[in-house]
Symmetry: D2
Subunit: 318 residues, 4 copies
């Protein structure tokens, strides 16, 4: 049996982040989970991550670290945008699960990341399924980690497509575009799965949900609970008939790159200044700018393979 | 027989603008042609428009007016971008045709537009196939024309898709985003055909070109000549296998809206400030911003109907 | 006797614009007055200019032309800022004078300016005491006027000093920074009198007002009436003990440059993009940027000479 | 004798930073020195700080910590601006002093700051004489330090006056405007000494330098050496006849607030977006914006008292 790859997850745990964590725990050696400000109230996100680890039966085996609670430029009066309307007040479909057994670690997520990377050079991949604040701040605090991180998988941005939080921007890039810019320009090899991949390939419709429910596992039950609120939100706001799984898709691709059936390496950058376009991700498909090709962009997904990966994960949690 | 609709064309005549003018002369009563700064050197554009009218056998029957030579914010040191590489040095595929018989009129295009609109309230539609400088400046000079213009058909922008002059922007909006903003916010009813419609539906490949050449008409010969340079450019830069006809598509749709098989009315705006996104057109498909729905956006084209319209025009010019 | 210089005034007539017009009528051959959107409601400004000409006993001798009612980028929802609080609802200290005898001319101010300049190349100076919309639009419409205008005197901007409409911007530059940019980069020789010159040298305090009132002339009476509201405003908002006369100072300097006791030619530009600094005027005193020195900036004024000029004007209107 | 106040210095040690450190060592209990990217090459700055402590005869008694080497948004291709032309290649007037005995500490400056503040709540003032990267990053990493820092003294920005690195911006704010914004909005009480205070009150001319040299101390010799390059720079670039001492002035004021003979509390913010004005500090003297008054701004200095403080420091170093 081949050795499992080692990863650190950076997450604003709510909704699909939970299934992404379950998927990562299933396929990877997860060295730790870092929480960053994003979807819902920060401490709730910490709790959600801890509870998700518990659902996977791994409480106490995967440390959870608190990171930055707000984006780099999230000043007093312009705090970052949370999206309780999407994921429920608890970010878990208003399930209000019992408290997790495990507690978060002492120490800052960024210091955990820096230390772990230095102790395991070339070993630790990053699964980034949240605003990129923690990762950017780690790079700024210790730029020498850059050459020791083999790969960052990023769920974020769009590839010349409609955004989700504004018409021009995807949520993770929008919340902290300065962080996204720092990470994109860092020199670390990056794979990006944009929002349009999620709307095209990750949607689970009513039929899919029935199929998953039929698994009858604890994992399937958890999936049903957490998706309660987002299912309604997607129908009314995004005109999508089902739940989207951007973070899970990202992790599934990281675990098995064959799920990504087409990709290309392009120059990718993010707008920080625009009046209408803050957080917009430029993907220079035709290389008009002639700048460094810094990101492998996912352009096509084997939807069935992804779905089977998800079913495999949820079915195995009993 | 129904009466022909009356239009004024605003064009930076080079390449596809010429076929668009021929198409407009075929289907509309063209009250006049306004030239705006754009594709190639200004006076060359004026000459190209006059020569195109001559090709249609209408010299002296359609007045041509000179308008703004550079975009609103085109200052001394940051003159607007011309694209001789796309269309040839003369904007006509390096054909260097003989001089036109007709001369441009005295008086400024903007004053011609204002006067014509006031004399024919509710009668004059605008076909905008260039940067929107002239039209914006007319609106600013005399805002009372707004209620007297029934419709502007605009070739410009993109609908959540890749740009052509930069990764984020289509040429006409990029050259004068301030003008685009003024026109989009004017309150005049607008139909917009974005660049992605052109790459999806307007491309004429080698087979199509052979079919057109086989017409054996003067129009077909002119089509072949003018397309010489752009054919090569598209293959190398835009990875497109053929010539694109954004301006002709726009005019064909204005002439016969059934060519546009799908459209919706959305809020559309343009970025003027962005570092990477100047000229980007925001199209708020899911109405996330809740702002005024000001533009009918073309979303699907009957390609065959468009091609037949073009063939009809070129075939009739003998 | 030397011949009087010929000028066109561009004004948003309210408050101090009126004394500036009186001063110009006193010292220059005024070829015409152009009205631009600014201080108060547009038609009120037109009326104020006509009435001011009447106060000078020159009704019918100086044509008044309507120009742009709003700044270049003044769109529907972001109309330009008027300042009725400063000058009274009528812009005349809530004096609500009787209607003027004279009417505005037909035709647009910009066309009047272009025509007059071409008919009198090198002869017509411009006194710009309002947002620069009209002048910028004339330059854009016909760039060939640039070489035929000997000088523009501009009241606007600040020279590394506090603004008046925002902390960073002076009103005329703030209202239409795009226009200011076009004019500053036009190549026309410019003299700029910034707001800080006005607060340092143009203030008329209670004692000065008594002195002027003692003239007992119609001009003195008019001065008292128009200043009623601004006197209060300055004390509470600008912490200034008296009335300011930026526009009059500008015209007085144009009439007699010896009133300007110190000036230097610097590179001057205007910020159009800033989040906090839109309309800020950069004056590169130490030539750090090494860019074209395009503006002679007034740096010191003989206050007594200015005051005597003003008294001379008001005393002569009987 | 009253107890000495406790401070941490944040510095990009070169030129005047050295005398500021000497001044702080003279008047305060200096808990530590943090180095941030700025004036010259980073490791040279670390060395300069260590050497300066040695000049004061305090080697080994004051820990020096390395902090952020580049500004928050200092990406690969747009590294921050250093100013070797101002201070010499070594930042010490091209003196190329021998190596310092002391070494920098392990651990990051920001962690040192956070730890020290938490261990001594309400005790540790900050003397900020460099770009504000370190301080901003500490606030972002642990926002709970905000309420435990009694005061930050900042040399930076301008109060409606000319900049020094660009016409619109002072160097420390220009290098990292995002950091300045974070600190200004943090809620920590701030005193700001802007660049115009330094040009008005801190200049030491040839006569002053002779007076200092006559002290005959090691401190005086050091002062002479380090000022060699900047003396020439100021004469040619800033048209200043002498050396400027912004950082020393800031520290002298922190040590004895009576040196600051006038100050007021204003709303202060910094432009991050402007095309011409990035790093510009808005000081809202007339409270036009009605926003939180967050900074006490130094408006007048007792120059003689400052000079005597400097002479006292340099004279005491034997
Ligand atoms: Ca997430
Ligand atoms: Ca065109
Ligand atoms: Ca005025
Ligand atoms: Ca410093």
């Amino acid at each position: 049996m081949t050795e499992r790859k080692r990863v650190i997850i950076d997450t604003d745990t709510a909704g699909d982040d939970t299934f992404a964590i379950l998927t990562a725990l299933h396929f990877f050696n997860v060295e730790g989970v870092m929480i960053t400000g994003g979807n819902v109230q920060f401490d709730q996100q910490v709790e959600n991550a801890l509870y998700t680890i518990q659902v996977a039966g791994m409480s106490g085996k995967v440390p959870v670290y608190k990171g930055y609670e707000s984006p780099i430029m999230g000043l007093g009066e312009s705090q970052h945008v949370t999206v309780q309307d999407v994921h429920g007040r608890d970010g878990m479909g208003d399930s209000f699960f019992e408290n997790a057994i495990q507690f978060p670690e002492d120490g800052h997520a960024v210091d955990f990341l820096i230390k772990t990377v230095h102790e395991n050079p070339g070993e630790i991949n990053i699964l980034a399924i949240a605003p990129l604040t923690n990762i950017a701040m780690a790079i700024k605090k210790d730029p020498t980690i850059v050459s020791k991180i083999p790969h960052i998988y990023i769920m974020g941005g769009t590839n010349n497509a409609l955004g989700n939080i504004t018409p021009t921007a995807e949520y993770n890039f929008y919340v902290d575009p300065e962080a996204a810019k720092i990470v994109l320009h860092s020199g670390i090899p990056i794979t990006m799965v944009g929002w349009e991949m999620c709307t095209q390939y990750s949607i689970m419709d009513d039929h899919d949900h029935e199929e998953i429910e039929a698994l009858g596992t604890k994992g399937a039950k958890f999936f049903k609970d957490v998706n309660k609120v987002v299912m309604k939100f997607n129908k009314t706001i995004h005109k999508l008939n089902g739940t989207t799984h951007p973070d899970t898709l990202l992790v599934a691709i990281a675990a098995n790159e064959e799920i990504m059936t087409k990709s290309n390496v392009y120059h990718v950058d993010v707008e920080t200044v625009g009046e209408l376009t803050r957080g917009y991700s430029l993907v220079d498909i035709n290389d008009r700018l002639g700048r460094t090709k810094n990101v492998r962009v996912c352009e096509e997904v084997n939807r069935e393979a992804f779905k089977q990966a998800l079913i495999g994960v949820l079915g195995s949690i009993k």
